[in-house]
């Protein structure tokens, strides 16, 4: 590998457009051998488009111009066939979502082996042996056994490791990682990041690391390119960009960590009390297999005072969201839930309806929780149609405008459809839909996880403001400790359906007792780069 400073990849004035809309507007950068460059920006800033365009992986109607020189070869002018010789062998890619980048019909060993046989002309047997080695390199325990596993039998982190093993199979000179840790839990993400750094060292690869998280990137990258609206607005060494960012935008990406909540201790009435909540899902058995039962929530008890916030933190699959729905009686659960002194357990759908108005739910995914065929105004006022059917259409419209103003949205948005709004706007709409009924309890199920950091901060500030204005109680559920810390007075840590630790927010974050909490907090703080 020559290290005489000759660039490995040179991108000059790369432009991508779809019809009249241009998404990448003249991006240029250079990557040396063995260097790790990070491309950082908000979603929609064109970072993924840039890389896909450089590798000519964009859909056919995208128009790409400029020049991408890999060593001495112009990739944009290459024939499809010659390009294929580069892809996979010299340049490899790891995607954000490991489940969708692996073929569900083949074992992971076979998938890695297929690349080796196709790209490096390994024999069947040699490919099999090498696949095991690669899985071992990627940090998968028992690689011999895991090689026979199908993607769905592996966890998210393991799948991402498999994807990395596939990428490094042919010993590439350049590894492109597109948000490789975004879809993973914090503890897993930290380990994947370590793995990437280690592999980069031992293989001497250059790496392009795409992320929306500047704090994360500066731990592993040598140089950083900050992208905004299809242009690189700032570039430099990672340390320099982090230490003294020149652009307001970069500062925003850096500072994009919500502040911890200033704690106010008020003694108030208990609003919500849950005891021994169990939620079981039955998996129907087939002809030959017995029905199985999965305990999603296992004996959870908690209580929440008026005007306070309870944060429930845990990794994906720990039963947090199921617990949230059980608290609102949206999934069948055993145990008792009492709200404002009334036992919800005995109420059925009809008798529960008047109470629904004071307990609301905001969902994680603002793309999925708004009906795509309804106008914003109708979405926001749906609760009014249920709980105040008598009011006129005109009044409903006025109330919708008020509710939108309260979440700091332009009331004229109420004539639009959800897909015309940005993620942050949609989440504000979802909050307005809950707030229009003047609830006392709002359960927030990962309210900011689908959003960019900068947008998250806005939403969190809004939630705090609403809480103060209306003396709301929140149950906030998240895998992101930063979000929990910003809002919660108390924290409950969940693992495998149980609460492993419960206490005041500050105590838990500063001196966690349960070992699981400790790893969770360590991982989160590490990602934060404190």
């Amino acid at each position: 590998m020559d290290a005489c400073g000759k660039p490995l990849l040179r991108v000059r004035d790369l432009r991508v457009s779809y019809g009249p809309a241009s998404v990448v507007k003249g991006v240029s950068f250079t990557l040396r051998h063995g260097e790790t460059a990070a491309i950082v920006g908000e979603s929609g800033s064109g970072k993924t488009q840039t890389v896909l365009a450089a590798l000519r992986l964009l859909p056919r109607h995208a128009v790409t111009t400029g020049s991408v020189i890999f060593e001495d070869t112009e990739l944009l002018a290459l024939s499809r066939r010659r390009l294929d010789a580069f892809l996979g062998r010299r340049i490899a890619m790891v995607f954000q979502e490991p489940m969708s980048s692996l073929d569900p019909l083949f074992t992971v060993g076979a998938q890695i082996g297929a690349i080796l046989r196709l790209k490096a002309s390994f024999s069947r047997r040699a490919a099999k042996a090498r696949a095991k080695e690669l899985l071992d390199l990627a940090g998968i325990a028992e690689p011999g056994r895991r090689a026979h596993a199908y993607p769905h039998e592996l966890s998210g982190g393991q799948r991402q490791r498999v994807a990395i093993a596939m990428a490094i199979a042919c010993n590439p000179d350049l590894l492109i990682a597109d948000e490789p840790t975004t879809a993973l839990d914090v503890t897993v993400a930290a380990r994947i990041l370590e793995l990437l750094a280690k592999l980069k060292q031992s293989f001497g690869m250059a790496m392009i690391f795409i992320s929306h998280d500047l704090g994360l990137v500066r731990r592993i990258a040598d140089s950083v390119h900050v992208m905004r609206e299809g242009e690189i607005v700032e570039a430099g060494s990672a340390a320099e960009v982090a230490r003294n960012p020149r652009q307001e935008y970069t500062r925003m990406l850096l500072a994009a960590m919500p502040r911890a909540r200033a704690h106010t201790r008020k003694d108030t009435l208990v609003l919500l009390r849950a005891r021994d909540i169990d939620v079981r899902f039955e998996l129907p058995g087939g002809l030959l297999s017995a029905a199985r039962e999965i305990k999603a929530v296992d004996g959870v008890s908690l209580c929440l005072n008026q005007g306070r916030t309870l944060g429930i933190v845990g990794e994906s699959g720990s039963g947090k969201s199921t617990l949230a729905r059980a608290l609102l009686k949206l999934v069948p659960a055993s145990g008792t839930v009492s709200f404002d002194g009334r036992d919800l357990t005995r109420l059925d759908r009809t008798t529960l309806r008047p109470l629904r108005r004071s307990m609301q739910l905001v969902f994680q995914d603002p793309y999925g929780s708004l009906s795509p065929l309804m106008r914003i105004g109708d979405i926001v006022t749906e609760g009014l149609r249920v709980h105040e059917p008598a009011i006129s259409r005109k009044e409903r419209r006025a109330r919708a405008a008020l509710a939108l103003e309260e979440v700091l949205l332009d009331p004229s948005l109420r004539h639009r459809f959800p897909q015309e709004l940005s993620g942050g706007q949609r989440q504000r709409v979802a909050i307005a839909r809950a707030m229009i009924l003047k609830p006392r309890l709002v359960v927030l199920d990962e309210p900011t996880s689908a959003l960019d950091r900068a947008v998250q901060i806005g939403i969190l500030a809004l939630l705090e403001q609403l809480q103060e204005a209306h003396d709301l109680s929140y149950v906030i559920i998240s895998h992101d400790l930063a979000v929990i810390r910003a809002l919660a007075d108390e924290i409950a840590v969940m693992k495998d359906g149980r609460i492993v630790e419960h206490g005041a927010a500050q105590e838990i974050i500063e001196c966690p007792r349960a070992p699981y909490t400790r790893t969770l907090i360590e991982a989160a703080l590490q990602m934060e780069n404190k």
Binding site: E97, E179, R356, L361, S371, P372, E382, R385, R433
Partner: protein, 360 residues
């Protein structure tokens, strides 16, 4: 993550929908108004114009006049001495061995080519007769069928029936199917299982058997066609809507509506059915043509539309039988049927790919 590129689907989105709507509108308008202005009742038989070729010119032409004249002469045993056409009037001179009975001239009235003959003069003690016979001018734009009925009028009348059956039976299927499927899918569990087993039982009934039973019980009636076809075709619709409902009810916005306390009918009406509308519209676009074809099949068996009333299916079947001699009997009804089906099909496609039709 691949960032969504804005403005990808903007260009030329609406024209197929508009074109299809224009074609359907034109055909519907023709079918409604055409029979009123064509000048031929749909069941009028012109014995002198059997299997006439389509032409924009008025009949009779010289050859047809001559043939018709000869036919009359033969039947009335008259000799034609002279014939001279003057505008729309034919001056004829007849002779016979005996005295000519003027009643013989009624043969002209009965013919489809001539009007009533007027006697201009008699000679030779009534053995020679000179008459003025007016010609009847008729246009057969699409020609005539084997019974001598105007195909243009019949095609349009058939269009009324076919479109009515297609739309009404589809509407029946749509209403029952969507309601049934959405309820079954949303209720889930045992109710769903029971409702879908019922669907499967009805599926197992042979369609024709079903039609015959209904005809036996209720007698042969036009409305029965809608009911029968609708009652069979809703099954597919119910299955499609149920499947859609099962997936839509997992989506967060349905959970959000439940959390708001919305009632089940409100959720079905406001959230589930609108979001299933893409597949529903797509299937409807297949259903309408299928119903039109099914109607022709039922009519072909003699259980549906009866002569002299007709439908496109019947006309096409009739044309197919005469394909060697008179291909126009097949071409015109098939053209109308094909244009309608094609327009419906492309309308369905356009609808499905239009933004916000539930195809995300």
């Amino acid at each position: 993550m691949i960032e969504r590129a804005p403005g990808v689907h903007l260009s030329a989105r609406n024209w197929p929908m508009r074109a299809s709507l224009a074609i359907l509108g034109l055909i519907a308008l023709l079918c409604l108004i055409g029979p009123l202005v064509s000048g031929h009742p749909y069941d009028q038989v012109y014995r002198d114009y059997v299997l006439v070729r389509p032409s924009p010119f008025a009949h009779p032409d010289a050859r047809e006049t001559h043939e018709a004249l000869e036919g009359i002469a033969r039947r009335t045993r008259l000799r034609i001495e002279a014939s001279r056409q003057e505008g729309e009037v034919l001056h004829l001179a007849f002779s016979a061995d005996r005295r000519i009975d003027p009643r013989a001239l009624r043969a002209f009235e009965r013919s489809d080519v001539f009007g009533p003959a007027r006697i201009a003069g008699t000679e030779d003690e009534g053995r020679r007769l000179s008459t003025d016979v007016p010609l009847k001018r008729r246009v057969f734009l699409f020609g005539t069928d084997a019974n001598g009925r105007d195909l243009f009028t019949r095609t349009l009348i058939a269009g009324r029936i076919s479109l009515a059956v297609g739309l009404l039976a589809s509407f029946v299927a749509l209403t029952i199917g969507v309601a049934y499927g959405a309820v079954a899918g949303y209720a889930g569990g045992r109710a769903d299982a029971l409702m879908m087993r019922i669907v499967e039982i009805v599926y197992a009934l042979p369609f024709i058997f079903f039609v015959i039973v209904l005809v036996m019980v209720f007698g042969r009636h036009f409305v029965l066609i809608f009911v029968t076809i609708g009652a069979v075709e809703w099954l597919d619709m119910a299955r499609i809507v149920r499947g859609q409902t099962l997936s839509i009810k997992q989506r967060d916005f349905v959970a959000a509506a439940e959390a708001l306390g919305a009632s089940a009918p409100a959720i079905l009406w406001r959230h589930i059915i609108p979001n299933a509308s893409g597949p529903i519209a797509a299937y409807l676009a297949v259903l309408v043509p299928r119903v039109i074809l099914l109607e022709s099949f039922v009519s072909f068996l003699g259980l549906g539309v009866q002569e002299p009333l007709t439908s496109w299916g019947v006309l096409v079947a009739d044309g197919a039988r005469n394909i060697q001699g008179s291909v126009h009997l097949l071409i015109f009804p098939a053209l109308f049927l094909g244009a309608t089906l094609g327009a419906l099909q492309s309308l369905g496609n356009a609808w499905q790919s239009s933004p916000g039709a539930g195809s995300r």
